[in-house]
């Protein structure tokens, strides 16, 4: 029983990291209607800023965290301005390819600057372990759970309640109509990106605090898992990203622990098999809205 609870907690820990990344993914998709494949790589860049600020320059931890989020937001702004904005009226496919290009660009920049060696990060958030149902849970994992839930609720209320949030919703529903209502569509989409990248910054802090290392490909693996999580939950849906992330994490942990044969490494693949089955049964994902195309 203890073993089972421990496995569940492993799954929730892993899943909340996926959920955290998936939130940013899904928000950008929900509003700008584009898959920002570079989202995971912005997290990787964020983790490198932690390496530079904390391990190399020994800046105080709270300041380093603020700088990390600010840097990611700025990076998101620059990427959006240079790569995505010129393609505002292009086909979704060109935007998608551009996003993949940006992803490779960021990975290779990291390779160029830091080399292929994994960079190790000193433990900068040390909160010890918690005891939960007789199972020890690392404090940083608990911080990740709480942050993910807070961000999910915050994002949800921001979009539903604030003027800017509602402008974002309007843009996502009909760009043309939103423009006619006096919403600056271009600016709204840019702001969406900046917020999404700032979220990636938060995710990178928590990622670094949990795993204490980063290499140039860190973001791509987490990016793909988080993308799967977002699709699982219904891409565009904020609570869906949360549920999708947790489910993928749980499936991975449970298959790694309880498959009758030694296929731990295949537990990655298992999550995707379940994703495919789910998409066949419910193509919009768990909480996705059905969009009827009007001709």
């Amino acid at each position: 029983m203890q073993q089972f609870i421990m496995t569940l907690i492993d799954g929730i820990n892993l899943g909340s990291v996926y959920a955290l990344v998936a939130l940013g993914y899904t928000m950008v998709y929900g509003i700008a209607k584009m898959l920002n494949f570079a989202h995971g790589d912005i997290i990787m860049v964020g983790a490198y800023t932690i390496v530079v600020f904390i391990t190399r320059l020994s800046i105080s931890v709270p300041l380093a965290m603020i700088l990390c989020v600010a840097f990611c937001a700025l990076l998101g702004f620059v990427v959006e301005k240079l790569a995505y904005k010129p393609l505002r009226h292009a086909t979704p496919l060109s935007v998608l390819i551009t996003a993949i290009g940006v992803s490779y660009l960021l990975q290779n920049l990291a390779l160029l600057i830091f080399g292929t060696n994994r960079q190790f990060i000193v433990r900068f958030i040390d909160v010890g372990n918690f005891n939960l149902f007789g199972v020890s849970v690392s404090g940083i994992s608990v911080i990740i759970w709480v942050t993910t839930i807070v961000i999910m609720i915050g994002l949800y209320t921001f979009i539903k309640k604030t003027k800017l949030g509602r402008a974002m919703l309007a843009v996502s529903e009909d760009k043309g109509a939103a423009q006619l209502m006096g919403i600056n569509v271009n600016r709204t989409i840019s702001i969406t990106f900046v917020i999404g990248s700032a979220l990636a910054g938060v995710a990178s802090i928590l990622y670094s605090a949990k795993y204490l290392n980063v290499d140039p490909y860190t973001g791509s693996l987490f990016g793909i898992k988080a993308f799967a999580a977002a699709v699982f939950g219904g891409i565009g849906s904020i609570p869906g990203a949360m549920i999708g992330g947790l489910l993928i994490g749980l499936i991975e942990a449970l298959t790694a622990s309880y498959l009758p044969f030694n296929l731990n490494a295949a537990s990655d693949g298992f999550a995707f098999v379940i994703l495919i089955i789910m998409l066949v049964l419910k193509p919009t994902g768990l909480l996705g809205k059905k969009n009827t195309e009007k001709v």
Partner: protein, 387 residues
């Protein structure tokens, strides 16, 4: 449409890059010298091994050249980064051939080595790998290795743990994507079950994995009395840190890939590997004069203690030297091609005996070395010999 100015700019850039590409291709003057080439990971997760090999070999090369060479033949050493990757190793090998390589001292890792098998067969040159331990890494008749192979190592470790340490229930974590790791795993598991040992937790991970919690939970929940890690030191260090967070206090055991693990564990984390036992052919704390002289030179030059990879490479160069002497090569022979030299050197390899840093080495016709092994333990943050 691109403007004229833009087109000109693009054209200029293209020309500049083209020219830059050609500049690197000039061949060095190597008359009177034998060119030994090597590849290994100088960057990436196996970079400590490649760096050590390059350094260890350089010390041997310098010693030989300072003493006047071999029958007047001076050695030239060129080394390329292969990032422990098959495709990169192929490119690196081609580059070495272009630069006049006549004898190949590589690769450092098995996966990269196996990828070169066809090229090594075609070139027909003498090939001595310091540390590629997979069986297939020396499948060519012109290939030899200094280190033990995975099967012998996995078997020896199973016997040592079962018979000497008396543990009976194993927990294993290995890398499914890596031929070195899965080779050791298969050999260990086979011998372990033959001996009568049981496996309480059999876990693995994929190359890109960063999270090992699911595997560790399985291990924590098992009744294993030790954790066997036939993997490389970098991943092992991450797993050991995560295992500590899960309060796993099992004795840690591994193979030669764990050598150098202290480089990855700084501060308090270094204490986590106290008592870790691994299999190694070389220990810098060995009191013999030969080893101490090498350690002193290595420390003076690189300000670091040499590991087994440095020692393997040092021995590899002396094995090549012994072969050159046995074949009676002269300065004239330095003009021979890699293939012609191979035809002279390969047949004498089974006749030489080298008293190296990693033991007295002789070779079988299959290219495997015969020498004795050591078991090492980490004590007070140092690698020491264990009976």
């Amino acid at each position: 449409m691109m403007s004229m100015a833009k087109r000109l700019l693009v054209l200029t850039f293209a020309l500049v890059f083209l020219t830059l590409g050609f500049v690197g291709c000039g061949k060095k003057d190597t008359s009177g010298k034998l060119v030994i080439g090597g590849t290994g990971p100088l960057t990436g997760e196996a970079s400590t091994y490649g760096t050590s090999v390059k350094r260890g070999a350089q010390i041997a090369i310098d010693e030989i050249n300072d003493a006047g060479g071999i029958n007047g033949i001076k050695l030239e050493f060129i080394f390329e980064d292969d990032e422990a990757d098959g495709t990169k190793a192929k490119a690196a090998f081609e580059k070495l051939m272009d630069n006049g390589m006549q004898i190949f001292m590589g690769t450092v890792t098995s996966g990269a080595g196996v990828a070169l098998n066809e090229a090594i067969k075609n070139e027909g040159l003498l090939h001595v790998t310091p540390s590629a331990s997979q069986i297939e890494a020396i499948e060519n008749p012109n290939s030899f290795r200094i280190c033990f192979n995975d099967v012998d190592q996995g078997k020896a470790m199973a016997e040592y743990i079962y018979q000497k340490l008396g543990y009976k229930k194993a927990a294993i974590i290995y890398n499914q994507d890596d031929s070195y790791s899965s080779g050791l795993y298969d050999a260990f598991k086979k011998r372990w079950t033959e001996l009568g040992g049981s496996i309480s937790a059999d876990t693995s991970f994929a190359k890109a994995a960063t999270d090992f919690n699911a595997q560790l939970t399985k291990i924590a929940g098992s009744d294993a009395d030790f954790l066997f890690m036939p993997i490389y030191a970098e991943k092992a260090s991450q797993i050991i840190i995560a295992a500590n967070e899960k309060n796993i206090k099992l004795p840690l055991l591994g193979c030669d890939g764990l050598d150098g693990i202290l480089n990855y564990l700084t501060g308090d984390n270094a204490k986590l590997v106290e008592g870790l036992i691994y299999y190694t052919p070389f220990l810098a704390s060995d009191p013999s004069e030969k080893v101490q002289s090498f350690v002193a030179k290595y420390k003076a030059k690189y300000n670091l203690e040499p590991d087994q990879f440095a020692a393997d490479a040092y021995d590899a160069i002396y094995v090549i030297k012994a072969a050159i002497e046995k074949a009676g090569l002269t300065v004239e022979d330095t003009k021979l091609t890699a293939k012609e030299l191979g035809e002279k050197l390969v047949p004498v390899m089974t006749q030489i005996e080298v008293d190296g840093l990693t033991g007295k080495i002789t070779f079988s016709t299959s290219g495997e070395p015969t020498k004795s092994a050591k078991v090492a333990e980490i004590k007070d943050g140092k690698y020491v010999a264990k009976d």
